[in-house]
């Protein structure tokens, strides 16, 4: 089915999220929609899916104008969506999830589960998926859950499939498998819209590429275009994808973690006997697919986990069992992975957020009262230094873009005397310009002799920043390898395998645990 968007414009008040966007997706084509976060990709797809009504423009399917009042209409017309965060019910089986919303019933309203099971098997065998219709969704790996989403869309005869950032949660191997599936779907005649901000995937699978920036189509490109060309179209200027950094001059070990285990609130062992060291003046990246214990490991260091076994020492001082305040006082700077939940108070102003972790003592508090004039000088200065773009230091951070929010977090954490800097997912969901800035500051922190840990699920970020890389899988560290290790090796390690090439790396730091 041919999908055409003509002059789609969607405004939210004064903000134009989509500005006269034209897009044609032919049958049997994978059309990549490339753009930064906030460029308007998701808005466009929500218009297509009937979640928003376009202010101007029209949607055509096989040259017929469509009017979608809601997702139901879009689905009935043959549009399917694979959401970034799966819209599945974890405690339902695969078959139940697939039939959800258009349940077939037998007499007296009994669900016809057999039909749903048959449907799952039929679609599965068609594309070579192996999905058990009676498995509970919550028991399935993420990659398989995504296939359930695809089956769900296909079970409604979707002729146009929209993949919204499908690889964000996948391992490199799962990503490769998804690419194969997308290829099969294309060959079967499905039109595919592939939304992403990852250049590599686009070049790998897309037939055509449309780049969106600030709500407008800024160009089309062929898959043969280089990363640099695509990136410059995305951000509108040439950006460095690699970080310029000098060779590290690691000093003595500052942070020593030995046999660290973390048990979570439901009693599961989420970090399993992890040991590593971080030296002064080096960046240790902790790589791995989301949910393999990295979050809990960083929370354990900062004092947010309750049940921690093993030892964590920073410059000889034990951090285990200390309150968060004490850990911060010991000189740990922390950028939490979810800045909106853990890093910032959205309703607070930039200035207030800048003093959030120093709300008890000087310089921001004297004898129990806030030093507002000092705070405002400080905030003005730091906003300038960290290039926080806002209407002033009294702007609530909730109104800032992701990149500017992250700069506020960085400004706060890096303006203390640090003995360890721990940044979890420091560039998640921020624009390329801000990524560049954040990376630069992280390297500068390293060069100032501070030991740095960067936890990241983005391989590009890991390889760009790291002096050494620890790969985590299911709560354990699979291995610690040098920063120049190839993506293939890292990808394998992220699935828990230990490629023997590690042992042959020339660098003596390739330690196997």
């Amino acid at each position: 089915m041919k999908l055409e968007l003509r002059g789609i414009t969607k405004r939210f008040g004064s903000l134009v999220a989509n500005d006269h966007i034209d897009l044609v997706v032919k049958p049997g084509e994978i059309h990549a929609l490339l753009g930064e976060n906030g460029a308007g990709k998701s808005t466009l797809m929500n218009v297509l899916y009937g979640l928003y009504q376009a202010d101007e423009g029209e949607i055509l399917l096989d040259d017929e104008v469509q009017h979608f009042a809601g997702p139901g209409d879009a689905m009935n017309s043959g549009i399917g969506m694979v959401h970034q965060h799966f819209m599945l019910i974890p405690v339902f089986t695969v078959a139940e999830n697939v039939m959800l919303g258009h349940e077939q019933t037998k007499g007296l309203g009994r669900l016809d589960l057999a039909a749903a099971r048959a449907k799952v098997r039929e679609i599965g065998s068609q594309f070579g998926f192996d999905v058990d219709p009676d498995a509970l969704v919550e028991d399935l790996p993420v990659g398989v859950q995504q296939r359930v989403e695809i089956i769900k869309a296909l079970s409604r005869n979707a002729k146009v499939l929209v993949f919204d950032e499908p690889t964000a949660v996948l391992t490199p191997q799962e990503t490769d498998e998804l690419m194969v599936i997308m290829g099969q779907l294309r060959d079967a005649g499905t039109s595919i819209v592939f939304i992403t901000h990852k250049l590599r995937e686009v070049r790998e699978i897309a037939d055509r590429i449309t780049i969106i920036r600030l709500g407008k189509v800024v160009g089309e490109a062929e898959p043969t275009a280089t990363n640099a060309e695509l990136a410059s179209l995305m951000v509108g200027r040439s950006v460095e994808l690699t970080v310029h950094k000098e060779h590290a001059n690691p000093g003595e070990a500052a942070l020593v973690v030995k046999n660290l285990s973390v048990v979570d609130a439901v009693g599961q062992l989420v970090v399993n006997s992890v040991s590593f060291e971080v030296h002064r003046g080096e960046i240790l990246a902790i790589a791995g697919v989301q949910g393999n214990g990295q979050t809990e490991l960083s929370e354990a260091i900062i004092g947010l986990q309750e049940r921690v076994l093993g030892s964590i020492t920073l410059d000889g001082q034990s951090l285990v069992g200390l309150s968060v305040q004490k850990v911060l006082d010991a000189g740990v700077g922390f950028v939490p992975e979810d800045r909106n939940v853990d890093g910032l108070v959205g309703e607070f102003t930039i200035a207030e957020n800048l003093m959030l972790d120093r709300s008890s003592n000087a310089p921001f508090v004297k004898r129990g009262s806030l030093q507002l004039s000092y705070l405002s000088t400080f905030a003005t200065e730091k906003s300038k230094e960290f290039d926080v773009r806002s209407q002033g230091i009294q702007t609530p951070v909730g109104k800032l873009s992701g990149g500017n929010q992250q700069k506020v977090v960085l400004a706060r954490e890096l303006s203390r005397e640090l003995r360890l800097f721990l940044a979890a997912q420091p560039t998640r969901g921020i624009d390329v310009g801000s990524i560049e800035f954040v990376h630069k500051r992280i390297v500068e922190t390293r060069d100032a002799g501070v030991p740095v840990i960067v936890v990241s699920t983005e391989l590009d970020e890991v390889t760009a920043l790291a002096d050494r890389i620890a790969v985590m899988y299911r709560g354990s560290i699979v291995g610690i390898v040098p920063g120049n290790t190839s993506r293939d090796v890292l990808g394998l390690m992220m699935t828990g395998e230990v490629p023997h090439v590690i042992t042959t790396t020339d660098d003596s730091e390739g330690v196997l645990l």
């Binding site: 969607k10 939210f12 008040g13 004064s14 903000l15 999220a17 906030g38 998701s42 808005t43 929500n46 979640l51 928003y52 965060h85 799966f86 819209m87 599945l88 019910i89 974890p90 919550e138 979570d264 609130a265 439901v266 900062i302 947010l304 309750e306 309150s323 968060v324 305040q325 850990v327 911060l328 006082d329 922390f334 939490p336 939940v341 853990d342 890093g343 910032l344 108070v345 959205g346 309703e347 607070f348 207030e352 003093m355 959030l356 972790d357 709300s359 008890s360 921001f364 508090v365 129990g368 009262s369 806030l370 507002l372 609530p396 909730g398 109104k399 873009s401």
Partner: protein, 439 residues
């Protein structure tokens, strides 16, 4: 959108379901969002809610008025009569409300003319402090529904000191006030401790503590040798010693007492606490985002305890105002007069801002003072005032309704670059911004 619906089932579910001792802080509950939505409403919304409630109240007054009913019987022959009857009924009612609450045109002496406004301030005195207590707890993300219990305990402590210890003039008053504050703070602090230590939800705990306080005080009032006045069989305490009573501010012709000054001082204190102090900063951080507060090293549990101590203490001041100001001749178990619950409304109407609460407290004081005049003068049941008060809460709790009625634009849709998030988070952000502007 349902971004987070499936994203992280385990941490949220686990910590939310079983708040075991020593487990992490319960995640910011949904109720925080509700609170934020309510508090995020602008001044305009508050004012419109009051107006709308008065209009609906007027309709009710007209509907229940006998003259209107009679005139509407022949509405189609002489519609003017019905309209006239409605006008007479509604204007009479609200005129009486005004004369009872602000200025009595019919008074033949100056004292009688301005007495209503002083009555309003007298009624407002406990409402303001209790509202401040509830509002302060709101700001730290806690629903303090326990105003009744905190007031009763405070009243008992304060009253006991007031009638049983002959102390010098001045010192006696201070000790009596402090006793009440401590009593309220303890009763509130229990809630904070239980929440911090065990994760018990403060709404349930405060409501249960209300029952405990009511029956405890009733029991003590019926027990000779406890609070009951010696030689009496009524469940009532002895009268306060005159040294412990709040002095009259405007002389014996008026009921207005020095408790008002305490309320004003408390308003200034809470304003300072919330906007200028380290503790208030932590309260506010914990109130809007306990996760970020915890990660920033703020001891969230301790904040819950502190804020409930302060909240209980402030509500306790309302109990003190009742015992040492309004009812000095000995009190019974009804001494709280529903102020503990009205305080919730006052805090909501004042959007949990100290000066907003101050104004809202005076408005509710006016309703109380005027309600009696309305009943006495026009025969309109005082319940209509309660209905109006309830309607105010209803309209404040439903800002979209008020916006729809007055065709106000929905805040938040305009300025959010990420539309899917706009539906959940931005009304708050945008409307607080709007509130700043409006202020």
């Amino acid at each position: 959108m349902s971004d987070s619906a499936l994203a992280s089932p385990t941490p949220a579910a686990s910590s939310g379901a079983a708040p075991t001792p020593g487990a992490e802080i319960p995640p910011a509950p949904k109720s925080n969002q509700v609170l934020r939505d309510i508090m995020g409403g602008s001044v305009v919304i508050s004012i419109l809610a009051v107006l709308l409630a008065l209009v609906v109240g007027g309709i009710l007054i007209a509907l229940t008025d006998e003259n209107v009913q009679a005139a509407s019987g022949y509405f189609f022959s002489r519609p003017g009569d019905t309209i006239n009857a409605i006008w007479v009924s509604v204007s009479g009612a609200y005129g009486a409300l005004f004369q009872g609450a602000i200025y009595n045109f019919g008074g033949n002496t100056f004292v009688k003319q301005i007495k209503p406004i002083t009555d309003t301030l007298t009624f407002a005195t406990p409402l303001i402090v209790a509202g401040l207590g509830v509002g302060l707890a709101f700001r730290a993300g806690m629903f303090n529904i326990g105003g009744q219990g905190q007031m009763l305990i405070a009243a008992a402590c304060s009253g006991w000191v007031a009638y049983s210890f002959p102390l010098p003039y001045g010192i006696h008053l201070i000790v009596a006030v402090l006793a009440g504050v401590v009593g309220g703070a303890v009763w509130g602090g229990i809630v904070g401790v239980l929440k911090a230590r065990t994760g018990a939800h403060e709404v349930i705990v405060t409501i249960m503590l209300n029952y405990i306080a009511v029956y405890l005080i009733s029991y003590l009032l019926r027990t000779p040798g406890a609070l009951q006045a010696p030689g009496s069989s009524n469940p009532k305490t002895p009268a306060d010693l005159p040294t412990a009573v709040y002095p009259d501010l405007l002389g014996g012709d008026f009921n207005l007492h020095a408790g008002l000054l305490v309320s004003i001082a408390a308003t200034v204190f809470v304003w300072w606490l919330l906007t200028r102090s380290s503790l208030g900063f932590k309260f506010r951080a914990v109130g809007v985002n306990p996760n970020a507060a915890r990660v920033a090293g703020i001891n969230v549990k301790r904040s819950y305890i502190y804020v409930m101590l302060l909240s209980g203490g402030l509500v306790g001041l309302a109990g003190v105002a009742q015992v040492l100001g309004t009812v000095t001749s000995g009190f019974s178990s009804g001494i709280d007069a529903g102020i503990g619950f009205d305080a919730i409304t006052v805090a909501l109407l004042g959007r949990s801002k100290p000066w907003g609460i101050f104004v809202a407290g005076i408005l509710f004081g006016a309703f109380k003072a005027g309600g009696f005049a309305m009943q006495a003068g026009q025969g309109i049941p005082v319940d209509i005032v309660l209905v109006v008060q309830s309607l105010i809460v209803l309209f404040i709790a439903a800002p979209p309704l008020v916006r729809a009625v007055f065709r106000l634009p929905t805040p938040g849709v305009a300025k959010k670059p990420k539309p899917p998030k706009a539906s959940t988070s931005s009304p708050v952000a945008a409307s607080t911004g709007e509130a700043v502007v409006a202020k």
